[in-house]
Symmetry: C2
Subunit: 480 residues, 2 copies
């Protein structure tokens, strides 16, 4: 974060966005008037008036923090977004591209010429560049690569080589290292030679001649001790370190558990490679949470709310297709019992209740279990215990809600037998939901799959088809 | 975080948990054997063997970080959890209570005597105590309150007075302040008088005689500049500050945007009250995400996976009840068309598809809109634009998937008219879903309600009942 940027609180940011909106609206209005005007003075008027609001806009945007500009870009519809992007991009375009969402980033990059992109990319550090690289045309990456000094190039190659969920992909290479046999005074003198320390420097890394990490020296310790003391006698030797292939999720949990600001990343030999900082961890946590939320609703990726209709259709079709298939299967289950429904049409009205409550209850169970697995609270031997408990919950719920609905069915259709079938079907479907809610994530975990993915679809498919089958099956057996 | 604690990575933590499990299992086994043994040597054997594994366990747990102990406690079933809790609690009980989840915290607090709780609470800072206070018996809070020095008492009173989603509830009172007219040399000498600086001290707060905040001095700046320079000429005057009544969510977003480690909290007159640190922000973000995930599946609160069946039933009943009501309404909608279903039983098999796809599509829309609102991307005038787009998406999806299903219906039941009704009903229900998906969150936002809450239930209720009504209604009009 460079010093001269304005920092804005939430309210101010909203105001600023409103100002941008107003200026853009005025600009459009003037443009329309100018275009409508004919005759010799046309060019003159255009020259004077046309650019006025854009200049005011640029003046407003200039001092803003790249993250705030990114925020404003995301809140604008495509045409206005590109007008604003043209006004700001020369300044901090690389940083702004880093801050905007993936969907918006694409639209901005599309609007840029190759040389603009190269210039933007060259202002970034290797780790930032690696984040941006997947969205850049290959030609731009090649150009940037060639222009980098050897060390940076190595860093970029390293940063780009790690998968998105590995520590390597959130690490940076900005760190301050010191030797253990020097005094704090020497360290302080050394630091004064910097123009500025890397962001989030809360500790210095103590390394030997071969860059092996020996310990960490928190600034906290550096500042409260006498300057004659040697680094080696003060440094912490008990600290968290990661390797680049470690899961970023585990690193995030360590940051949370131990309240870290930065942590070193070392290779298998203990050689210092880089560090992870809390700001990257915060972004990672937020992105994970969002990803999960989107996946839960069946959105393939983050959607620019101003995306075209067609982009939205593409983003959503896979999930709808999957649900169509499961709904179709459920429909065929019902189809198999059409004779029974023809004889007792009440079944058609009651069956969605059995299926629906099963789905809700199953989703409660699976959410709880997936969360417990993610927190590491589920031991391999826990299946039996968890199943017993969930079956208990399902039995109670089945008897309570099932009886209630059984009575309702009896009252509505005047058949006590129908009520009993309803109660029994509800209870059985809830037991099915509980079994699946425990079993699906635990089995996925056991076979090395992500327990969180697709569980909700599977369980709903099961409780729908299963619910219809159980209810219509019992009805056919006992009421026909 | 005190220095002497072991820090453990994710894998080690799993190993440690396995060791705890093993030791507890051995302990139980020995206990059983001892209990079965009769005769004079009984007490002797018990005295020697019985405690052996527990001592080993205690030895293992002692050097662990409170957050890691908390993790292990959460992963143990209730009886074993209390055995482990008894072994550790004297040491860091306050800190551990802070780290465990709400559900587990309750069970631990229940097991403690009043004097133990008071002793535990007294080891905490005011802001930590305030976090714990809602779970403590009133008597314990009163005792602690009386034992605090006047300043701490004031802090505690302040910290407890803010709602959970306000900045005040995540702020602490540990900060280092300096005056602007002193040199860096004086500051460095002053810092050396501390035993340690507060955690997450990345900047000092520059205040005047009346504690009004004039600027901030990042340690970064302090360390790279010559010691003769005065604080006033180096301090940043452009910085983010919060008031205690600000939304914690807005503060979290500012931390994300500007990559902050700490930020000052001031009162309306600009007087420094405390600070917010990134570790609290990380916890807040994670909790928010979890809360949302739980609410989405209809779980009232975080559930201890070892909770009793009865506790689980209580945690889940409200959501099931709401869904039961909406399912019942949908069932009555079907009930109104029983004559039509009796005449054409295919309707019963096809209707859940129409309802189901509508629900899925509506949830996609609402998730996208709620997210965009949360990111501040939706302006008050955006409703029309968003609605137009979503209706476009719904039309395309309706025609594609609806036609597919229409053809399937035609092929299955040999009626082209039924196929057309199916296609039309699908399209109409998707349009309904799109309208509700845009309208519900935007209207909730307009009337000051949280756009995220309950949207999913509402939209599913609407697309279920609506889908049945549309499909059966069209069928009755055109096929009967």
């Amino acid at each position: 974060m460079s010093e001269e940027n304005q920092l804005t609180d939430a309210e101010d940011l909203q105001e600023r966005l409103a100002e941008v909106h107003t200026l853009l609206a005025r600009h459009k209005l003037v443009e329309e008037i100018v275009h409508r005007q004919e005759g010799p003075r046309h060019d003159l008027v255009e020259g004077i008036v046309h650019k006025q609001h854009l200049q005011e806009l640029q003046h407003k945007l200039e001092p803003m923090h790249p993250a705030d500009v990114a925020y404003i870009l995301e809140a604008l519809p495509p045409d206005e977004r590109l007008i604003v992007w043209d006004l700001v991009k020369a300044e901090h375009d690389g940083e702004i591209l880093l801050e905007v969402s993936d969907a918006v980033r694409e639209s901005l990059i599309e609007s840029m010429a190759r040389n603009e992109l190269v210039a933007a990319a060259e202002t970034l550090d290797a780790d930032e560049l690696a984040d941006l690289a997947p969205d850049l045309p290959q030609g731009v990456i090649d150009d940037v690569f060639r222009s980098l000094p050897a060390e940076e190039r190595e860093h970029l190659r390293a940063a780009m080589s790690y998968p998105e969920d590995a520590v390597g992909s959130i690490m940076d290479f900005d760190m301050v290292t010191v030797r253990e046999d020097v005094t704090l005074e020497v360290v302080l003198r050394y630091l004064r030679r910097f123009d500025e320390l890397p962001d989030h420097t809360d500790q210095l890394f103590v390394v030997d001649r071969d860059e092996h990490l020996k310990g960490v020296l928190p600034l906290n310790i550096l500042l409260v001790n006498e300057v004659e003391v040697e680094v080696g006698s003060l440094m912490h030797t008990e600290f968290v370190e990661f390797e680049p292939d470690d899961e970023a999720e585990d690193a995030a949990k360590a940051f949370e558990r131990y309240d870290l600001v930065s942590a070193p990343v070392v290779d298998a030999d203990g050689k210092l490679l880089g560090r992870v900082t809390v700001n990257e961890v915060v972004d990672f946590i937020r992105e994970e949470a969002e990803q999960e939320q989107l996946a839960h609703a069946g959105l393939a990726e983050e959607e620019d709310i101003f995306a075209s209709v067609w982009d939205s259709v593409k983003n959503r079709w896979a999930w709808l297709a999957v649900n169509l298939v499961t709904a179709f299967v459920a429909s065929r289950v019902i189809g198999a019992f059409e004779d029974s429904i023809e004889k007792l049409v009440a079944l058609a009205a009651l069956m969605p209740i059995v299926a629906g409550i099963g789905g809700n209850s199953g989703n409660q169970t699976i959410t709880m279990i997936v969360r417990a697995i993610a927190m590491g609270q589920v031991q391999p031997d826990a299946m039996r215990r968890l199943l017993r408990k969930e079956l208990g919950v399902a039995s109670i719920n089945g008897l309570i809600w099932g009886s209630l609905l059984g009575v309702a069915a009896w009252w509505l259709y005047g058949s006590a037998q129908l009520g009993v079938v309803m109660t029994a079907a509800m209870t059985l479907n809830l037991l099915l939901a509980a079994t699946a809610g425990v079993g699906i994530p635990l089995l996925r975990q056991k076979f090395g799959a992500d327990p969180a993915i697709g569980g909700s679809v599977m369980i709903t498919a099961l409780t729908d088809s299963g619910g219809f089958f159980i209810f219509l099956g019992l009805a056919t057996l006992f009421l026909m």
